[in-house]
Amino acid sequence: MNIRLSLTVNDESRELLVPVHKTLLEVLREDLDLIGTKHGCELGECGTCTVLVDGAPVLSCIALPADLQDSDITTVEGMADGSRLHPLQQAFAELGAAQCGYCTPGILLTAKALLADDPTPTRQRIREALAGNLCRCTGYTKILDAVELAALRMGQRPVRAMT
C-alpha cells in the first residue's frame, strides 16, 4: 500500500507517494537521492542515520515517514547555507574529525541539535549528546574538539570560508 507524504526536506516541500512501510532512511536515500544520510545497522543502534526532524535528532532507519507528515527534516545536505558551510562542517573538516566519514553526517546533525539547545556545552555535555553515535575511526577526540571549536565560533562571528 502506498501513502502520500508531505514533508519539508532541507527547506524544500516534497510530495511523495511511497510504500507505507518504507523507513525515513529509505525514502531519503532512494526516493529523494539524499545519499548523504548513511546507515550502519538499520536497527536503531549506531546513530549513523541520524537526521533532524523538527530540529530534534531522529534515527531515520527506524522512523516511519507516515508518522512524520508535514514535519521539517534536515539532512547533512541541508546543513550548509548555500555554499557557506555550517561551522560544524567547517570545524570537522579542519580538525580531522572525519576520517572515513561514514558516521560524520549523523554526528554533525546530532551536534547541530545540541548546539541549538546549548550553544556553550561542556565537553561532558558533548560526550553525552553524542553517546548514541558510534565512530570506529577517530576515538572521538577530534570530534569533541571540532564541536567545541564550532560552538566557540558560532558564539563569536561568522566563519570565513577556507580558501
Binding site: G36, L88, F92, A93, E94, T104
Partner: protein
C-alpha cells in the same frame, strides 16, 4: 640540520574532508546505476554440514527475480587471499563450514524480492559435528573441517629458534612462565560491505566495492570467474572504515559479478550488519604460553613463546597471522635469543584474519604483562626497566629483522613525564595498601596507572604473492593549467592516503595540495598498490609519489633552465613558481614551467615505483616480519576500578608514538587516537564469541564497543626520528599505537586493586572474580592455566642475529632517480 618543508608537517585538512562533511562522498552502497538489480546471498544456518542438494526452482518463479545462482553457476575454483590457502568458494558446493557460509545468490528488482526468493531456495543439508574451539578441533581429528594443512584441523604449524633459549634460561636470575588468553573481536567498520558489479555487452566487467585491496580482488576475480584480468576493472569506492575487515575477496563481490554477467544488468549486493559479523576476518582468539628469562637488572636473557590461534573456518591471511604472533616480539627490547612455536587451528566459526595490528596485539599483551610481573619481582620500576632494555638503533634482532631508528626511549620519557607516573605509582600503591573501611553506600574505587610499550611494521617487506615488481606505483601527469594529477592504486579507508599523496607531491613541486588531483584505486587507471594493510601505504606510495614528483621536477628544471639560461641545479620550486632562489623575481609560474617542459619533452607524465629493501632473513619463514622500518609506542593508562562491581573506568591515556616524521600531525594524531580507542574496546568490552554455533552478539547494540562516554581523554605525543627509509622520514601510525593499550590497562588494574587478569577482554566479572580470590587469600589471578596437548614441529634452528649491525643504507629496488 633540520629539513625545511612547506606542506609536510602542516596540520592541513584532508583533501577529501569537504566531501565527507557535506555528504558528497559516494561510498559503494551510494552507487546507483540505471536498470540496477539488487542481490542477496542465502547463507548457511549450519556450522558444519554437507550440502546434498540445492533446489532453486521455487525461488526462480517469484515475480521480479532475474536470476538465482549456486556454486554450479561459477567455475569450480577454490580461492583464498594467500596462495598457500586456496580453500574458499564464493557459493559453497559440497560443504558449509560455518554459519553464514553462502550457498546461493539471487538478483531481483529490489532487495525485498531478492530476500523473499532466498527464503524459497531449498537446501538439503546433512549436518556434521561442529568444532567450536581449539580444544574441540584437536580432540576430534576424525572430523575434518578441511582436507589440507599441517595435520587434522591444523592449518599451520610453525617453529623457529634463534639461539639456545634453554641455556639462556639456565643463566637467568629470574625465569617466568605465564599463560594468557586473548579473545577474538571484530573490526566493526561503520560501513557494511557493499559491491556493485556491472558486466557490459562488450564482455568486460567493472566492480565497485568497499575493499581495502582492489589489486588482489582484481587478480582473484580473474581466476574465480575464469576470464582475462585485462577485461576486469576493480574500483575501490571510498571505504567507510576497514581496519583489515575488507582485505579478502568476498562472496558478495563475486556473486554480484556473476549475477551481472548472467542478467546483463548492474547488480548491487549490500551486506547487512549481521552478515558483516559473519564475514569477520577479525582478531584471532589466541592462547599463549610465554617463558622469559631476566637478569637482576631487568635485562631479558631469552624468550620462548608458544601460540595457539583459533582460525575459524578458512585460511584467509591465517598463515601470515600465525607468524605475526611470533615474529614482531623481538623488535622492541633486547632479546638475545628467541624461540617461537605457533599453530593455527581450524574451527567452524567465521574465519579470523588481519584486524588492526594483525596477530601482534595478543603476544604483545602477554609480553608486556609478563614484564610488569617480572619488574615487580625484581623490585624495578616498570617504566625504568623497559627504558633500559630497548633495542639499539640500526641493529638486527635475534630473528634477523633490521631495526633502523627507534624513538621509544623518548616516547617513554614523554608519557612518564606527562602522566605524573612517578608520583602516581607510589601514591596509588600506598593507597591500595591501606584497607580503609568505607560505608557500604560509598563506592569503593581505587586508582591505578599502568605502562606498556610496543612496535609495529611500517609495511610488509614482501608481497602476498611472490614477485619482483613494485609494491606501489604512481603516475604523475603535469597539466598546462598548472595542476598535477596523481594516479595511484592506494585505497583511502579514512586514514588519509589520498591526502598524503597530494601533500608529498605538492611538497616536492612547490604547489598547494589543492593543485594536486588524486585518482586512487582503479585497476584500469592506476598503477598497482598492493592495498591498505600492514601500515604500508604512506611509506610505499609516499616514496613512489616522491620519486615520480622528483622526475617531473627534473624535467621541468631542464626546460626552465634553458629558458632562464641558468644551471638546472640552481633552480627551486616553491609558491607555484620555478626559479633561482637568489633571483626569484625572474621565477616563472608553475603553469608556464609546465608549458616549457611540454615544449621540450612532450607530454609530462612520470612514473614512480617503490619496493621495500630486500632484507628477509635467509631462512624459511623469514619473509614475514621484515619491514622498511618499525614504529614505536609507549602508553600510560590511568583508571579506577570499582571494587563492588568490578567495573573499570578509564580516566586518561598518555601515548607517545615514534612516527619518524609527522607528514600531517593532525592525521597522525587521528590515527593514534583511533588506535587507542580501538585498543580500549578490545581491552575491556569487545568479544566475538559464539553460543550454539551462532554469534552471541551480531549487532551494534549487543556487541559492546566504546562510545564517547567510555572513551577517556587521549593525550598524544609525537616523537620524530626522521627514518632514512620513510618518505621525508615518516613511519606508520595506523596500527602500532593500538598495541600497548591492552597491557597498559591490565597493568593499571593490577596497580589499582592487585588483581591480575591475564585474559582479554577484562570484564567486570573477571575483575570481581580476582577480587574474591584476593579476599580468600588466594592468588588474585584470573586467566587460563593450561595449554593444549599439541606437538609443534621440530624447530628450524637458525643462528641469532641479535645485535648485528644493520646495513646503513639498504639497497632499495627502483630507487634510481635520473638527475
Amino acid at each position: 640540520m633540520s629539513k625545511r618543508f612547506t606542506v609536510v608537517g602542516q596540520p592541513l585538512p584532508k583533501i577529501d574532508a569537504w566531501g565527507k562533511v557535506t555528504g558528497d562522498t559516494r561510498f559503494a552502497d551510494d552507487m546507483v546505476l540505471p536498470r540496477m538489480a539488487f542481490g542477496k546471498l542465502l547463507r548457511s544456518p549450519h556450522a558444519h554440514a554437507r550440502v546434498r542438494a540445492i533446489d532453486t526452482a521455487r525461488a526462480k518463479t517469484v515475480p521480479g527475480v532475474y536470476a538465482v545462482i549456486t556454486g554450479a553457476d561459477l567455475p569450480r575454483v577454490k580461492f583464498g587471499i594467500l596462495p598457500v590457502s586456496q580453500d574458499e568458494e564464493a557459493l559453497c558446493t559440497e560443504k558449509v563450514r560455518m554459519v553464514g557460509d553462502a550457498v546461493a545468490a539471487v538478483a531481483a528488482v529490489d532487495e525485498e524480492t531478492a530476500d523473499r526468493a532466498c527464503r524459497l531456495i531449498d537446501v538439503d543439508y546433512e549436518p556434521l559435528p561442529a568444532l567450536m574451539s581449539i580444544q574441540e578441533s584437536l580432540a576430534h581429528p576424525e572430523v575434518r573441517i578441511h582436507e589440507y594443512g599441517d595435520g587434522p584441523n591444523v592449518h599451520k604449524n610453525v617453529a623457529l629458534q634463534f639461539g639456545d633459549v634453554e641455556a639462556a634460561f639456565a643463566a637467568s636470575d629470574l625465569v617466568r612462565e605465564d599463560v594468557f588468553f586473548y579473545e577474538g573481536n571484530t573490526h566493526l567498520p561503520m560501513e557494511q560491505h557493499a559491491a556493485v558489479a556491472h558486466a557490459t555487452a562488450d564482455g568486460k566487467l567493472t566492480l565497485w566495492s568497499s575493499t581495502q585491496t582492489p589489486h588482489y580482488v582484481h587478480r582473484l576475480l580473474a581466476r574465480i570467474l575464469d576470464m582475462p584480468a585485462a577485461h576486469i576493472r576493480v574500483i575501490a569506492a571510498p571505504v567507510g572504515g576497514g581496519f583489515g575487515g575488507k582485505l579478502d575477496p568476498f562472496a558478495h563481490e563475486i556473486a554480484a559479478c556473476r549475477l551481472s554477467q548472467l542478467i546483463g544488468r548492474p547488480v548491487k549486493i549490500a551486506c547487512t550488519r549481521e552478515e558483516v559479523f559473519y564475514i569477520h576476518r577479525g582478531r584471532h582468539p589466541v592462547l599463549m604460553w610465554i617463558k622469559t628469562g631476566f637478569t637482576k637488572a631487568g635485562d631479558i636473557t631469552g624468550c620462548h613463546l608458544k601460540t595457539w590461534l583459533d582460525g575459524g573456518a578458512y585460511g584467509s591471511y591465517g598463515v601470515a597471522s600465525t607468524f605475526y604472533t611470533g615474529v614482531i616480539n623481538p623488535v622492541t627490547y633486547k632479546m638475545p635469543v628467541y624461540k617461537f612455536e605457533g599453530a593455527r587451528i581450524f574451527t567452524n566459526k567465521p574465519p579470523c584474519g588481519p584486524k588492526r595490528g594483525h596477530g601482534t596485539p595478543q603476544p604483545r599483551f602477554a609480553l608486556e604483562v609478563q614484564l610488569d610481573k617480572a619488574a615487580e619481582q625484581l623490585g624495578l620500576d616498570p617504566a625504568d626497566m623497559r627504558r633500559r632494555i630497548l633495542v639499539e638503533p640500526f641493529t638486527k634482532t635475534a630473528n634477523h629483522l633490521t631495526v633502523t631508528t627507534i624513538g621509544l626511549g623518548e616516547c617513554i620519557d614523554k608519557v612518564v613525564e606527562a602522566s605524573g607516573w612517578r608520583d602516581k605509582v607510589s601514591r596509588y600503591r600506598a593507597a591500595a595498601e591501606v584497607d580503609a573501611p568505607k560505608p557500604l553506600w560509598q563506592p569503593r574505587r581505587r586508582r591505578g596507572v599502568g605502562i606498556a610499550c610496543s612496535s609495529y611494521m611500517t609495511g610488509a617487506g614482501t608481497a602476498i604473492y611472490w614477485n619482483s615488481m613494485p609494491h606501489s606505483g604512481v603516475v604523475l601527469r603535469a597539466d598546462r593549467s598548472g595542476g598535477v594529477t596523481v594516479l595511484c592504486g592506494a585505497t583511502d579507508i579514512g586514514q588519509g592516503s589520498d591526502s598524503i599523496l597530494a601533500y608529498l607531491v605538492a611538497e616536492v613541486l612547490g604547489l598547494d595540495p589543492k593543485d594536486v588531483h588524486v585518482h586512487p584505486a582503479d585497476t584500469s587507471l592506476t598503477p598497482v598498490d598492493l592495498g591498505s594493510y600492514s601500515s604500508r601505504v604512506t611509506l610505499m606510495c609516499g616514496q613512489a609519489a616522491i620519486q615520480a614528483a622528483e622526475r617531473l621536477r627534473s624535467a621541468i628544471f631542464k626546460a626552465v633552465a634553458a629558458k632562464l639560461d641558468v644551471d638546472a641545479g640552481a633552480l627551486a620550486m616553491r609558491e607555484r613558481k620555478v626559479g633561482v632562489p637568489d633571483d626569484w623575481e625572474k621565477a616563472v609560474d608553475f603553469a608556464r614551467a609546465v608549458e616549457l617542459g611540454e615544449a621540450m619533452h612532450g607530454v609530462l607524465a612520470f612514473a614512480g615505483s617503490y619496493a621495500p629493501p630486500k632484507r628477509a632473513g635467509k631462512y624459511k619463514g623469514g619473509g614475514v616480519g621484515p619491514s622498511p622500518c618499525y614504529s614505536y609506542t609507549a602508553c600510560v593508562v590511568e583508571l579506577s576500578v570499582d571494587e563492588d562491581t568490578g567495573e573499570v573506568e578509564l580516566h586518561d591515556v598518555w601515548i607517545g608514538h615514534d612516527i619518524g616524521r609527522a607528514l600531517n600531525p593532525l592525521l597522525v594524531e587521528g590515527q593514534v587516537e583511533g588506535s587507542v580507542y580501538m585498543g580500549i574496546g578490545e581491552a575491556v568490552m569487545e568479544a566475538q564469541v559464539f553460543r550454539k554455533h551462532v554469534h552471541k552478539a551480531p549487532s551494534m547494540l549487543e556487541y559492546k564497543s566504546p562510545t564517547t562516554l567510555e572513551t577517556p581523554e587521549i593525550h598524544t605525543m609525537l616523537v620524530e626520528t626522521d627514518d632514512p627509509e620513510g618518505p621525508f622520514g615518516a613511519k606508520e601510525a595506523g596500527q602500532g599505537p593500538l598495541l600497548p593499550v591492552m597491557p597498559a590497562i591490565a597493568n593499571a588494574i593490577y596497580h589499582a586493586v592487585g588483581v591480575r587478569v591475564d585474559e582479554i577482554p577484562i570484564t567486570p566479572e573477571k575483575v570481581l572474580k580476582g577480587l574474591e580470590l584476593k579476599r580468600q587469600g588466594k592468588a588474585a589471578r584470573v586467566g587460563p592455566d593450561r595449554v593444549p596437548l599439541f606437538t609443534f614441529k621440530q624447530p628450524l634452528v637458525v643462528e641469532s642475529a641479535f645485535g648485528a649491525p644493520a646495513e646503513a643504507i639498504a639497497v632499495r629496488p627502483f630507487s634510481d632517480t635520473p638527475s
